[in-house]
């Protein structure tokens, strides 16, 4: 469970996100949408503990994030950032094994159990057959999936994903989103594709550093709100085959 209580973050004098009040329930998949620069990544970084709120609070399962040790926090929360690259010659398996870091110590070294968790994580993102490949030789989508596997190997209760479907082909997009929804974790996911956001349990809409709406996607993502926040015209269409609703977009001036 994630709870933000009037959390704000300032860079110098500039408020980047302001008075975010947000409650993500246990087991829920929560989508965060909003235009570029609206503060989605900043909210995720606050929850991950990479940033500390200037005012307000972030609670994870009721505990103030700043009161958790890094290690305990990392056992609860895994974060896949919008981008993270390396120049080191690491293999896919090396990268995923990093996810075990918060569970290991000198007295508790990497063991067969960790090997199984890593293999399972690789299998879940469909990268088992590429475990021995070097990072530099991976495509953008493969790298994204390795980062997700690394986060899964962390065995978190809370999963934070910043645009996880970036770079993914359509099959991978759908299967990653289904995987996240199926997992028994609380997931907070920043997304750009509003049709993907429709599949979340609830969504929050960011605009200029504020959370302007929050609730079930069908109620929140109205053509009116989409026009105000994203400056596009939106129409709901219904798939005649199964009655599934989806949104079609056009620039407002068209």
């Amino acid at each position: 469970m994630i709870r933000l209580e009037e959390a704000s973050w300032r860079a110098g004098q500039t408020a980047i996100v302001r008075d975010i009040a947000l409650h993500v329930r246990r087991g829920e998949t929560f989508g965060l949408v909003g235009p570029n620069g609206s503060g989605k990544s900043t909210v995720l970084r606050l929850v991950a503990g990479v940033l500390t709120p200037s005012t307000g609070r972030v609670r994870l399962d009721g505990i103030d994030q700043t009161r958790l040790s890094r290690r305990r926090a990392a056992r609860m929360v895994a974060f896949v950032a919008q981008q993270a690259d390396t120049a080191e010659r690491v293999t896919v398996r090396d990268a995923v094994e990093l996810g075990r870091t918060p569970w290991l110590s000198m007295l508790r070294p990497f063991g067969p159990g960790d090997d199984r968790i890593v293999a399972h994580a690789l299998a879940r993102v469909g990268m088992s057959d590429k475990a021995g490949r070097y990072w530099q030789g991976l495509s953008g989508g493969e790298r994204q999936r390795v980062h997700l596997a690394r986060a899964l190997a962390q065995e978190p209760r809370i999963l934070l994903l910043d645009e996880p479907t970036n770079h993914l082909d359509i099959h991978q997009q759908l299967s990653i989103l289904r995987l996240v929804r199926k997992l028994e974790v609380t997931a907070l996911v920043a997304l750009h594709d509003l049709n993907q956001a429709l599949e979340c349990d609830r969504v929050g809409v960011m605009q200029a550093g504020r959370l302007v709406a929050c609730g079930p996607p069908a109620e929140i993502l109205t053509p009116d709100l989409i026009a105000r926040v994203f400056a596009v015209r939106a129409n709901y269409l219904t798939d005649p085959a199964d009655g599934h609703r989806l949104i079609r977009f056009a620039l407002s001036e068209d």
Binding site: V50, A74, R89, A95
Partner: protein, 353 residues
């Protein structure tokens, strides 16, 4: 999950056989370092000297030979090994923390700052003895590194080179500044005798090494390597940057503070004993990566061993390459290191392309 059944089990530590091989190479290098020199000393004499000194046996030996082995060559070889191991591990740690293939204590100005600190103690005679020399060197090293990182940070907020290039440029500026300060101190206050001594020492020189230096260098190096080894997993977690390390449970600030303290301690101690020796911290970690990969649980011990062997051998070369003359060891490491540096630069370019 079915996929888990077929996990190929990977060796995770350096492997006992490779560790033994490395230690054997180190012992062989030490023996070589003791026997080779202006006078070649037979292995038998080395063995008997060690036995006499360590186990109180009473083999008859010529006092001169026993003295050369015990007081000159052995001390020198041991300090070279400790120094090589310490500098190589320092390079690994700095490269991981700064995520920069070109980082090492010499390039980042730590060695230059340590030299300035040590020279201030030496010339102005603040305090006395080996310990205060190291303390001065440590203070100088920390100051230099703080300035270099500060400069890189200040320059980084504007538009300019990427961060990696900035740190190296700041390091060059810092090195120049502190070398100039050192020269200034020497020119101002040293007599001709001191100038000669200090100049030779600044280029990396092992000829003054005796047992007290061994008693300083070995514990510092061993302790430093152990502390770094204890942080091997944290160093791995820096692979995708400090932010990603935070989210994997690493106390990034504390880790950085401890490890940079350790690296500066190692560098300062070695500088106070042997002067600034360049390129070991830069080139050895890359050679070790080539052999054992990037994971720090293997990379750190491998770098320590290779660094130790390399510097013992470099010291031998510095003594025999010009007959009748001893070159500063820094000249030898630079002769090997500069081309190594070039290779790293070119390979780095290919990776980026």
């Amino acid at each position: 999950m079915t996929a888990s059944a077929t996990v190929p089990v990977r060796r995770r530590s350096l492997g006992l056989s490779r560790l033994i091989l490395g230690l054997a190479a180190l012992i062989a290098a030490l023996a070589f370092g003791v026997s080779v020199g202006e006078t070649v000393i037979a292995p038998e004499v080395i063995w008997k000297t060690l036995s006499n000194q360590l186990f109180g046996t009473d083999y008859p030996l010529r006092p001169i030979q026993e003295g050369i082995v015990w007081n000159y060559r052995l001390t020198r070889a041991i300090v070279a090994a400790a120094c090589g191991a310490g500098l190589a591990v320092s390079g690994v740690v700095l490269q991981a923390l700064l995520r920069n293939a070109l980082a090492d204590p010499y390039i980042l100005g730590i060695s230059a700052g340590a030299s300035t600190g040590a020279v201030l103690v030496m010339v102005l005679g603040i305090g006395a003895g080996a310990l205060s020399l190291s303390v001065g060197a440590f203070a100088g090293g920390i100051l230099a590194f703080t300035l270099v990182i500060g400069l890189a940070r200040a320059a980084g907020s504007g538009i300019g080179l990427p961060q990696a290039g900035l740190i190296i440029l700041s390091g060059i500026a810092g090195t120049q500044l502190f070398n100039a300060l050192t020269s200034f101190v020497i020119a101002q206050s040293a007599n001709a005798e001191q100038v000669r001594g200090v100049t030779f020492w600044m280029m990396g020189n092992m000829s003054g090494v005796r047992w007290p230096d061994v008693r300083l260098a070995v514990p510092v190096s061993a302790l430093g390597v152990l502390v770094c080894m204890a942080h091997a997993r944290a160093l791995d977690a820096f692979t995708f940057g400090a932010e990603s390390a935070v989210t994997m449970g690493v106390a990034v600030r504390r880790t950085q503070a401890v490890l940079i303290g350790v690296v500066t301690m190692i560098t300062a101690t070695m500088v106070s004993i042997t002067g600034a020796i360049g390129f070991v911290g830069l080139v050895i970690p890359h050679a070790a990566r080539f052999l054992v990969g990037v994971r720090h649980d293997r990379l750190l011990p491998a770098s320590a061993l290779i660094g130790a062997v390399f510097l013992v051998m470099a010291d031998v070369v510095s003594r025999v390459i010009v007959p009748g003359q001893v070159l500063p060891i820094g000249v030898i490491t630079a002769l090997v290191g500069a081309p190594g540096f070039a290779v790293i630069l070119i390979r780095g370019r290919r990776q980026r392309a």
